[in-house]
Amino acid sequence: MSDLTNVNFDNMTAAQFEDYLPDLFASGDGKVSHDPRFAVFLEKNPDCAALVHDLEAIAEHAKSLFEPTEEPADSVWSNIASKLKGETQDLDEPSGLIEPAAE
């Protein structure tokens, strides 16, 4: 990965900046736009500033995907319950499949 110890961030090229980005995003809090080391560079390079803004926004939006939206079909539980029937006495009830509990 990139060695950033001796890099002059004020005078790097856009291509160099992009090469460093994976490490920069992975370090600290991942907020390159808040890092004072890049303030001058980003001020002088609006394209890079827009890129950083977009990538940070994508990462931020991704967190909203953590909450699930999708529900498995009822057959998934039916299959689980019937397979477990053979594995445990408890699940082997006269009524056949147990119903999934309400959340």
């Binding site: 994976p22 827009a50 994508i58 991704a62 995907l65 939206t69 408890d90 959340e103």
Partner: protein
């Protein structure tokens, strides 16, 4: 490229505690202990509590409803058999997610999708790779991205990119954890994540071109 970014203000953050740290769910600890002793009702409660999150994770990783349902089934069967080894050293949902991720990865390896061990296999083809086009950006990139659009864009990512993006940015795993799970280097994980975000940026610039997720209900929130 214009100075205006592709995405405007991010949506309201979910409860910060839900990301990386999973708070205890009411009744979960008791259900776990009862399920460890073979209580079927308790296990069905655990299923009810976690089915959507496990299924959504499988769907995102696999991009296929049928396979996602199969893997959800496998994950809970595996959970039932392994529940006794859960010691409570991490949040139960974190433990269950890890178990699910490992099962999905095993499934993909069995299918012959070598997305993890070799650089060239985790990397998509050049056509799929994000373009490096500093200085030639479309000036009309305004607009926010809603959840459904982002879901579609994530589903359109090449498998290797999608896997790392989902594990890091959605599920909150660290690069060293992802590297272990995917049997790649930490640097590779960082690089793949960056490429995934670049590719997403490209995809989100043309949201109308994104295909709907096959078989998904696509619930907008």
């Amino acid at each position: 490229m214009g100075q205006q970014g592709l995405l405007t203000t991010p949506p309201a953050k979910p409860n910060p505690g839900l990301f990386k740290r999973n708070p205890p769910i009411a009744g979960e600890a008791e259900a776990i202990e009862r399920a460890k002793n073979g209580d079927a009702d308790a296990f069905s409660k655990l299923y009810a509590l976690h089915k959507r999150r496990v299924y959504t994770l499988c769907l995102r990783m696999l991009g296929n409803v049928s396979e996602a349902e199969d893997m959800t089934q496998e994950a809970f069967l595996h959970l039932f058999r392994k529940l006794g080894s859960f010691r409570g050293e991490s949040a139960f949902s974190t433990w269950l997610h890890r178990l699910t991720v490992n099962l999905v990865l095993m499934h993909l390896r069995k299918k012959g999708l070598q997305l993890v061990s070799l650089e060239e296999t985790i990397n998509p083809s050049e056509d799929d790779a994000p373009k490096r086009d500093f200085g030639s950006r479309d000036p009309n990139l305004a607009g926010s991205v809603d959840r459904v659009t982002l879901e579609r864009a994530v589903a359109s990512l090449p498998p290797g990119y999608r896997m790392v993006f989902v594990l890091h940015d959605v599920e909150g795993f660290e690069h060293n954890e992802i590297a272990t799970m995917l049997e790649c280097s930490t640097g590779n994980s960082k690089s793949q994540l960056h490429k995934a975000r670049l590719k997403l940026r490209e995809l989100l610039r043309q949201p109308e071109a994104l295909p709907p997720i096959e078989g998904s209900k696509e619930v907008a929130k």
